[in-house]
């Protein structure tokens, strides 16, 4: 074993006392340090955890008390900011929304939790990926109100029914769970991906917006909605429960029948 500059201690010092009812779980993490590694490698940690813990708590435990070099994103830790999307046991989830008790093996078998960075985006370090290609696709669909002509003197009124049409797609938190679960996005970086289409949908079907035609033109191109194979990975991955595949189908229908 060659000596490296990596530390093997956590960033918060010694381990805290193990609480009652804790079980030992193995957390297997796909890691990559661009300064030392040529290839990603797997690291395993046996750590104590409560069934009521979230996967994010396990990552915190490793970073704080076992290996301070573990790198991942998280901000609010409550499923709102969408920072901690990762592949947990092979499916894209927010680490702060998955409870350990839902991953525990039945009986007395040792539980192993596999954690990888989300696929299809360049890995910067460990679980931290470069989100820029994802946001580039998001910006390409003009995810903001587009209007022409004079601004009204009062607010733009909308009926309840008109608001209802795009209600589902307003919930997106841009965590990239859906886009990086899409097989078409993995193999071909130029597909806009589900998240961009969801955010285009949010404005295309907004009665106050006048940019639907422009967005539909963008999504009609070779990298747009027609690359969708309706595998439903995106709908399954969405931590906000957005019917992503349905939103993509609605955009396809709007293009097919030239009607928003």
């Amino acid at each position: 074993m060659t000596a490296t500059a990596e530390t093997t201690t956590g960033s918060r010092g010694s381990q805290p006392p193990v609480p009652d009812g804790a079980v030992t779980v193995t957390v297997k993490i796909r890691r990559f340090n661009p300064e030392f590694d040529d290839e990603p490698r797997w690291d395993s940690f046996d750590i104590p955890a409560l069934p009521s813990d979230r996967v994010l708590n396990l990552l915190h435990y490793i970073k704080w008390y076992v290996d301070g070099t573990l790198t991942f994103r998280r901000s609010c830790a409550h499923g709102i900011c969408g920072s901690d999307a990762m592949r947990i046991n092979g499916v894209n989830r927010l680490a702060c929304k998955v409870l350990l008790k839902d991953l525990l093996e039945k009986g007395s078998k040792q539980t192993t939790i596999t954690i990888e960075p989300i696929k299809g985006l360049p890995v910067n370090k460990d679980l931290l990926v470069d989100m820029e290609p994802f946001f580039e696709a998001f910006r390409a669909v003009k995810p903001y109100l587009v209007t022409y002509g004079n601004e009204p003197t009062r607010e733009r009124i909308q009926s309840v029914a008109d608001r209802e049409r795009f209600d589902d797609t307003t919930k997106c938190i841009l965590c990239a769970c859906c886009t990086t679960s899409c097989p078409v996005y993995w193999t071909e970086g130029s597909y806009f991906g589900p998240a961009a289409i969801v955010n285009a949908h949010r404005f295309i079907f907004d009665s106050r917006d006048e940019g639907a035609e422009e967005r539909l033109d963008i999504l009609n191109d070779i990298d747009g909605v027609w690359r969708c194979r309706t595998t439903f990975n995106c709908t399954d991955a969405c931590p906000r429960g957005i019917q992503v595949t349905k939103a993509i189908q609605e955009v396809k229908r709007a293009l097919l029948f030239k009607r928003v």
């Binding site: 022409y148 002509g149 004079n150 097989p183 078409v184 193999t187 071909e188 006048e210 035609e213 422009e214 539909l216 033109d217 009609n220 191109d221 070779i222 747009g224 027609w226 690359r227 396809k252 293009l255 097919l256």
Partner: protein, 135 residues
């Protein structure tokens, strides 16, 4: 839309630049798929199950079949639809999986050439088939 004079510096609505190629290819896959279900299953049933199945097929059987414009059209439609449907499917597979632009280009060229070759050879045979051909 209001007059441009109302607000001279407002952004202009960009001209539509819709290219419907991908839309048509998507639509074609659905429609040709439906037609192929009828054509191919019908073909399979006639050739392999109906009286005697596959053992009845010989030169005479094919010659008798292609004497009718209906079966000529059936086979022609099946050839064209299956070839373009399959070719379009492989095109999307190449688009998805080819990593380099040059690989993508050459694989697609190979695909298109093979499609044109098979479609034209098949069409040629159907229309110029001579039942009285001598050995």
């Amino acid at each position: 839309m209001s007059l441009a004079l109302d607000k001279p510096r407002q952004p202009r609505r960009p001209a539509a630049r819709r290219s419907n190629g991908e839309l048509y290819s998507w639509l074609f896959m659905r429609l040709s798929g439906l037609l192929l279900v009828v054509l191919v299953l019908g073909h399979l049933f006639i050739m392999n199950i109906l009286d005697g199945g596959v053992h009845k097929i010989n030169f005479g059987f094919v010659a008798g079949r292609w004497a009718s414009p209906f079966w000529q059209f059936w086979d022609l439609a099946m050839l064209w639809l299956a070839q373009i449907h399959g070719g379009n499917g492989v095109r999307t597979v190449i688009n998805d999986y080819a990593r380099k632009d040059s690989t993508r280009f050459w694989l697609k060229m190979l695909l298109y050439v093979s499609m044109v070759l098979i479609v034209s050879l098949g069409t040629f045979v159907i229309f110029t088939f001579d039942p009285n051909i001598s050995n």
